[in-house]
Each structure stands twice: as C-alpha cells, then as structure tokens.
Symmetry: C2
Subunit: 222 residues, 2 copies
C-alpha cells in the first residue's frame, strides 16, 4: 500500500512540473508571436491551453485517487491539497495565455510604440512561473517567498504600460484600439504574475502548513 502511495506521489510531482513547464513555454510562445506578429504561432500556442487543461484533469484525478483510496495523513494530505490549488492557478495561467494569443490574432501584426515594456513584462512573468516551479521541485521556501516579492515588479510594469498607452492615444501616436489591446495583454501578464504568487503561497503551505490567508493545516484540523 505504502509503496503504491509513494509511486503515486512521485507521479503527482512529475505531472505538476510538467504542467508548470508547459505554462512557462506557453507564455514565452505567445509573447514571441506578439512581437513577430506571427498569427500562426499564436494559433499554435492557443492549443497549449487545451493541453494544460488536460494536464489539470489528469492531476485532479490523481489527487482524488490518492484522497479516496490511500487515506493520506498530515504532510501528504497537505501536499495533495496544495496540488489541487496549484493546478487551478496553472490552468488560469493557460487561460490568460490563450486570451493573449487571441489578441495577437486580432492585432494581426499591428504594433505600437513602447511595446518593449510588454516584452520585459513577459520575461518577468515567465520568471515568476519558472521560479515557482523551481521552488516546488527544490522545496525551496526562500525562492517561493521571492516569487511573492516579484509581483511588485510586474505590477509596476502594468502601471507604466498604462501611462504609455494614455500618451499614445492622446498624442495619436497609435491606433487607439490596438493600444488598448496591448494594455489588455499587459493586464493578462499582470494576472499571470498574480497566479504565480498564489502558486508560491501554496508551495509554502505544502511545506510549512502555514498559508498567508490563515489557511493553516485546514484539512487536518477538526
């Protein structure tokens, strides 16, 4: 029984890493498609969101199997509970990447001045997701805490992008609709950063039993 349990827990970790990696790759891909104005690449990356959804379902099924048939206790239970929350955030990251891909298709190659901010922002977002996966793999609390701090950077980028867009529209340096589409892309990247923060918080919870929002050992408590 225990042996089977360990095997399934290992499988859970492998699948979580796979899902996280797929998220990173998707964000990087859609950003590339934006700067290349590459609608074909955007369509291709949109498919990744489907794959991320499929991984979410597989992992959820695995978690349910573990909960129902293996009666996990304390630490393991926390791992499974955190995994169930992490996959929701990763799935949402996939959705946001898909939303960006749709805007890339809509923009159909249109570019705006100042869009390099988006590039920096996407790099920051990918880094946050990469670091959270890394923190999970290495059980590195300090790295997870760092992901939480990094959110300020991405949020700051969003504010700068907002100012840029206002200026572009007022001075008519850009087609206003395209400028707003770029602003929405910035918003989606900021949200991706937010989800990476959530993932980092769940990693800390899985390791320490403490969650920022006071969700301390929720499952074990009676």
């Amino acid at each position: 029984m225990r042996n089977q349990f360990d095997k399934q827990m290992d499988e859970l970790n492998i699948q979580l890493i796979r899902m996280g990696t797929m998220c990173e790759e998707t964000i990087a891909g859609v950003t590339k498609s934006l700067f290349e104005g590459n609608v074909i690449l955007a369509r291709e990356k949109k498919q990744n969101a489907r794959e991320i959804d499929r991984l979410e379902r597989d992992i959820e099924q695995l978690c349910m199997k573990l909960l129902l048939h293996q009666q996990p206790v304390a630490g393991d239970l926390r791992q499974i509970s955190a995994a169930l929350r992490m996959i929701t955030d990763m799935e949402r990251i996939g959705d946001q990447a898909e939303d960006i891909a749709e805007l890339v298709i809509l923009l159909n190659g249109s570019q705006i001045k100042g869009a390099e901010l988006i590039d920096d922002m996407a790099l920051a977002a990918v880094k946050m997701v990469t670091d959270s996966v890394e923190a999970f793999v290495r059980k590195d609390i300090a790295l997870a805490e760092n992901v939480i701090l990094e959110y300020d950077i991405i949020n700051n980028f969003f504010d700068r992008m907002k100012n840029t867009v206002v200026e572009l529209i007022i001075k008519q340096y850009a087609d206003a609709e395209s400028a707003l589409d770029f602003l929405m892309i910035a918003k989606y990247l900021e949200r991706i950063g937010g989800h990476a923060v959530n993932i980092a918080e769940w990693i800390i919870y899985a390791m320490t039993g403490k969650h920022k929002e006071g969700q301390n050992d929720m499952v074990c408590r009676r």
Copy 2:
C-alpha cells in the same frame, strides 16, 4: 454513517448558497460605491472578499472531510468534486470585486461620461451569478445553460465600453487615466461573467456527469 453523510451534504449545499449570495451582494455593493463615488462603502465591500475567502476555506474543509471519511460514490462524489471547483470560481469573483473596490478608492469620486454602460454590465454580471446559484439550488440545467449563453452579452458590453473609452480619450472628454480605470472595471466585470460561466458548467457536470471540456466523470472513471 449515512445519516451523518447526508447532513454534511446538506451543510455543503447551504454553504455554497451562502457563498454565492455573498458574491452577488459584493458585486452589487462595489458597483453602487462606484456610482456614488462612495469610498467608505468601497472599503466596506472590500472586507466582503475576506469573508468570501473564509467561506471558501470552510467549504473546502467540509469537502475534504467528506472525501476522506465518508468514501462517497458516483453522484455524491461528483457533487463534492464540482463544489471544490465552484468555490474557486466564487473566490475569484470575490477577488475581482475587491479589485473593483480598489479602483473605486483610487478614482475617489471621479466619474466619466458613458459610465452607465458599466452599470448595465454590473447588472448583467450579478444576474449571471444569481442565476448560477439559482440553477444550483433548483438543480435546473436549462438555467445553468442560460448562464453560459449570457456571457456573450457581458462580453459585448466590454467591447462597447472599450470603444467608449477610446472616444473619451481621443476627444479629451475625460481624464485618460480615469477612463482606463473604468475600462479595467469593465474588464473585471467581464471576468466575473466568465467565472459565472465556469460555475454553471460545474453545476451541469454535477448533475449530468458531463463537462464541456470533456471532463466526464473524471473521478469515477478508471
């Protein structure tokens, strides 16, 4: 054992309805605070998001208890699994309402022309959430399906709001930054509509075992 199980399942339903109602009330409240430029009310409603988080934790704990100690089968398992997904969407609705409240505080009473679109949009968003809770209570598949269709309305509102904001900025009828804040509020309302769609899909899954994304009886399938 079975009796205890039924009692806990009833409790689960009551808590889900409570959480849904709290979401409706929060969206309606923050929208009111926006139109009244009422920063105090916005701050008050921001607190609701904390309460929604607390309900999410309580419900999750209840679901985990049911999974671990009651070994539910087929239909009941599906109910619990759907409940776990629904609370994530409701919690996100609370987050979006909190984001709106923060913008209301930032706007500090600033208004823009054409903002009545936001009012219509908020009404549509509240209706979607109300209908999804109602569909859950009455086990009404047709109503849940209707919520999914209603998304087009709210998405269309967002596009109209985008056009309005572009015009306001170009013609300098509004302070550009405030106009973009209103656009972000529209975006959050559109996202709330998206979460209501997710909830409706989980309700249909709980009742039929079929999920739009192919998540058919994921837990029971072996």
